[in-house]
Each structure stands twice: as structure tokens, then as C-alpha cells.
Symmetry: C2
Subunit: 333 residues, 2 copies
Amino acid sequence: MASAAFDVLAIGNAIVDVIARTDEDFLIRHKMRKGAMQLIDEAQAAKIYDAMGPAVEVSGGSAANTVVGVAGLGLRAAFIGRVKDDELGRVFAHDIRAAGVSFTTPPSSAGPSTGRCYVLVTPDGERTLNTYLGAAQDLHPNDVDADAIAAAQFIYLEGYLWDPKPAKEAFLKAAHIAHAAGRKVALTLSDAFCVDRYRAEFLDLIRRGTVDLVFANEHELHSLYQTADFDTALNALRNDARLAVVTRSEKGCLVVARESTEAVPASPIERLVDATGAGDLFAAGFLVGLSRDADHRSSARLGALVAAEVIQHLGARPETPLKTLAEDNGFEF
Amino acid sequence: MASAAFDVLAIGNAIVDVIARTDEDFLIRHKMRKGAMQLIDEAQAAKIYDAMGPAVEVSGGSAANTVVGVAGLGLRAAFIGRVKDDELGRVFAHDIRAAGVSFTTPPSSAGPSTGRCYVLVTPDGERTLNTYLGAAQDLHPNDVDADAIAAAQFIYLEGYLWDPKPAKEAFLKAAHIAHAAGRKVALTLSDAFCVDRYRAEFLDLIRRGTVDLVFANEHELHSLYQTADFDTALNALRNDARLAVVTRSEKGCLVVARESTEAVPASPIERLVDATGAGDLFAAGFLVGLSRDADHRSSARLGALVAAEVIQHLGARPETPLKTLAEDNGFEF
């Protein structure tokens, strides 16, 4: 097998987050499901933006956040996703490249504007997501660079890609190329309601081995197996997946393999400011660990460490140098 | 005198801040004067943006930050400034209106894009500003709503308005209308190099009484009187200005009136994250105090309190409800 040009290559919806603090009443008034992601059209986007408070714009997108974390930890990362050639598209492209991630997908010159996610952060630090996909809908299988995929140690795909139809085809094409080249494919289930929309297909991906590694939080796990009983869901996942990580917020995570399940605690934090990006950065740390041949436990500890960084400020992109943070906490690369 | 429709109306450059953390070397390599504001053209803006790290976008603009602070403290505020009808222009308009500030200046439909300031924050929390004025250059005396000016208790003007020529005319028109209506005019000197560009004119404004209240930091004060001796400069200011406040970062501030000078300490902070907006928010608190007939000392204490909020996070707009903060600290409105 040829040596890898990238440690992790991610495909995802390219999104700029528009983040505002709000109260619980706002979510109720606007019929938003707290903690979840809902897809919205342009008219709904305008309505939500008009109603929400002063905001901050920070590049986001679930898989994009993950590769920014991977690059921040000093590994080689690439991203495939679609923006438009507009101001927010230039913001997205600048930020991901400035973070050290290779990003060469050409922007759309026509069609909908760059995707954005209206993120509402309640006083408890929970975030509720309203995504206008915009140009991200136009990610096409042709955007998947076969050479880059074949030359990446891990391909990381977000479940949200199932929403725009051509993006799902891009996902499947990438997974196929990666496996043909002997690479590993990881999937994040993204959101419990996303799982609800595509349950059968996600289960099929996992059971057929189209994905080698699955990231899920508790809500997504319960949704995947339609059970309120955690152990039932966990056993089903152990049976279906080659390797999986279930993240449980402040309760830490479980690394689930066929032969064993390891519990790893969350990293301590001073204050939960904004949970956006917690799962994305956890995945970054875990993938970096695996890429460097660390064991599951160390990889999960690194995931927990970088997830703790991102939830202590607004936005899903790290604000502190992750490599230094990792080294200060005893991780070596 | 008719009752005021607004407690504070500000005129300023409408700017969106593009904020990134950086190291001292970056400033040296790009020949930037640390802590200062330099004006840049579109080509320089592109070059700096290409070179700087991942950024966060937050609405800014010195005088705009001040009226956002005034509104956050529960008073009635308005802003006059020019954006373009583009994505960042809509971000600026959304944020200032969502903060409760009246903003009705029509956006430009043609010409340069919405102004932006590339803010580089060094590890010590100091910020270095690179401003592309863009559409802010097109603020015109016709944008000054005479009725709104005459109906505002305080007019607040930023020294930066001296850079775009028509904006300076708008400034002088507003000051004239305000005084004819028996209102007060306040000026912030903005930046030591701005003072250097317009020293004679600023001194003239102060000495002729075109402005009733001057805000300056230590650097601006030294620049205004071209002396390294603080007391010499302070005595000159006392002689020239009706009322002035000199802010001195962690050393607090001095309220300088003809008959007396009062020293007020800075508010304690946990950690200086980003000094952007410190002076702007100090002015907000001080003006709110005066508007509510508080004495100079209480007004300066309120200024120090809200300045302390804004320097403990990235960006020059408050992240916590200022009214609650003020009430929790014993201020009553």
C-alpha cells in the first residue's frame, strides 16, 4: 500500500455558523427541538436570523471541524465540500486553509449562497442547530478526488451528507475508492433526527462494513436502534460495527469493539460555554490517536481532551493550539 | 428643550471585525504597529487576510460598539453609518438592530463592499487593527438625520470619521445641529495615529467647544499634545476641554474637569483575552451614567465595569447582558 498523503480526509457540508446566545423561550416560540439539527429553507433562515440576537460568525460544518482539529494536532488533513464564491464562502475557505487543511473543491459560481447554520446557545451551553444547506447541496460525486481519497489513511464522512442527494453519492463513491485502496472509512451519525431520517441506510452501511468505524452520541445510538434501553442499543452496536465510539457528554465515552468495551472519562472543564463541535473534536482526537497507532484508550483520551477545549468557548473551531494542549497533557506524536 | 428620543446617538464607521489570534512575529513581518489602527486598501486587505490564521467575524466599529453598550445598559441608542447591501453589510445591520440600536442609514447599492477590520490579537490580549473602510467611506452629510440628532441627549462621534472626507462633514453637521438643539457632543480620539493625522483639527474642535466631552487613552493624550510627560499633557487637556476622560487600561481612568480631576480604578478581571472595544465600552458606561445624572465618579465606575466585560472574550461587542451586570454591581437605572 502506498504511503498516505493525508492522515484524515473528510467529506462534509461546508457551513459557516452564525452563533447567538438565547433563552429556552426562544426555542419554544420557534418550535425548535433543543439540542437537535433541523434543515431550513431560505425563507426560514431569514425569519430565524431576523428574530435572533446579535451573532458571531465562525466557520463550522461537522466534518470540517473535525479535520481542523486533526490539522491542529499536527497531522495532515484534507476536506472536500462545496461553498459558493461569495463572502461567506471565502470566509469558510480562508479559515479551513489557514488552519492547515488542504481544501481544493472549487466553489459554485451560481446557485444558492454558501450554507450557514444558525446556532442558538442556551444558558446551559446546549446548542440547537438550524441549517440552511445552500451551496453545500451541490457537492457532487465529481468533487470527490479519487487520488486524494486513495492516498488518505482515514476517510471521515458525516451522516448529514445523506441530506443532499448528490452528496450521498459522493459519500458512497469515496467509501468505495477508499476500501479499494485498503484505507479505513469512519462515519459520524451526526444527529438523532438525521439517524431517524436514514436509519435503514445507516444500519446497512455499518452492517455491510462500508464503514469501519462509527462515532455516535447517546441520542444517536438510541435513535439508531429505536430503544430507550442503553445496554440493548450498545449490544446491538457491538454486534453490528467493527469499531464504534459512543460519546456521552460529561459521562465520557465508550469504545466498543467486538471483544471488549472500554470506558474513558470526559476531560475536566471549568465551564461549559457552547457544546457546538464537541463530537467533531472528539472524533479528531480519536482519529489522530488511531493514525499514530495509539490504543483505543489513549485515542479516546485525546478525543476527550480536544473536545473539552472546544466547549469552553463560542464556536466549533479550536481557539488554542491543540498540539501544545496535547503535549502539555502528556501526548506524544 | 424637547424631551430626547434617544439617550445617545453615535456616528461612526460601520465595520465588521475579522479577528484572529497571532504572535508578535506576525506583526513585525507585516510591519504593523502593535496596538494601533492602520488604514489599508483592498489589495492590502486581501494580503493580510491570506496571511492571517483562522478568524471569527463579529460586528464592530468603534462608535457602533459604544451604542450597542448603551442599548445593552437599557438606554435608547441610535447609530448612523454606512454599509453596503452585501452579506457583511447584512451581518452588521442585523447585529446592531438585534442589540436594540436604531439603525436606519440606507446601505450603498454600488461601490466598495462593507468595511472590515482585520484584528490581530497577540497572546498579551493587545489588539492591532487593519481597517479597510469600504462602504464606510461613503457616509455622507445627507445621511445625518437632523431630527434624530436634535432629539438625542448625547451625540457621540469617533475621531476615525476624520479619515473619509464626507464623513468628517457629516460629523461637523451633526455637531452643529446638536448644539443648536441644546444637546451635548462627545468625541473619542480613537487612536494615537489618528490624532497624529488630525491633531490641529481635533485641538480646534476641543478648544472651540465643538465637543463638550472628550474620551482619550494615554497614547492619544500624549499624541494630542506631543509630549511624553503625562502631567504636562493632562494639564493641557484640563485647560482645553470642558470635560474629558483619560483611560489608562489596568490603571483605571481620570475624569478631568476644569476644577477637579478624579481617579477611578479599573474593574478587576480574571484574564485579559482581547482588548478590542475596551475604550468603546468604557464610553458607553460613562455616557449612560451622565445621561442618568450620575456623578462623574459613578459614571466612570460604570464605564470601567462594562469595559471589563468586553476584554474578557474575543470581539468588541458584549457577550453578557450588561444591564444585569450593572444591577448585580449595585448600579440602578
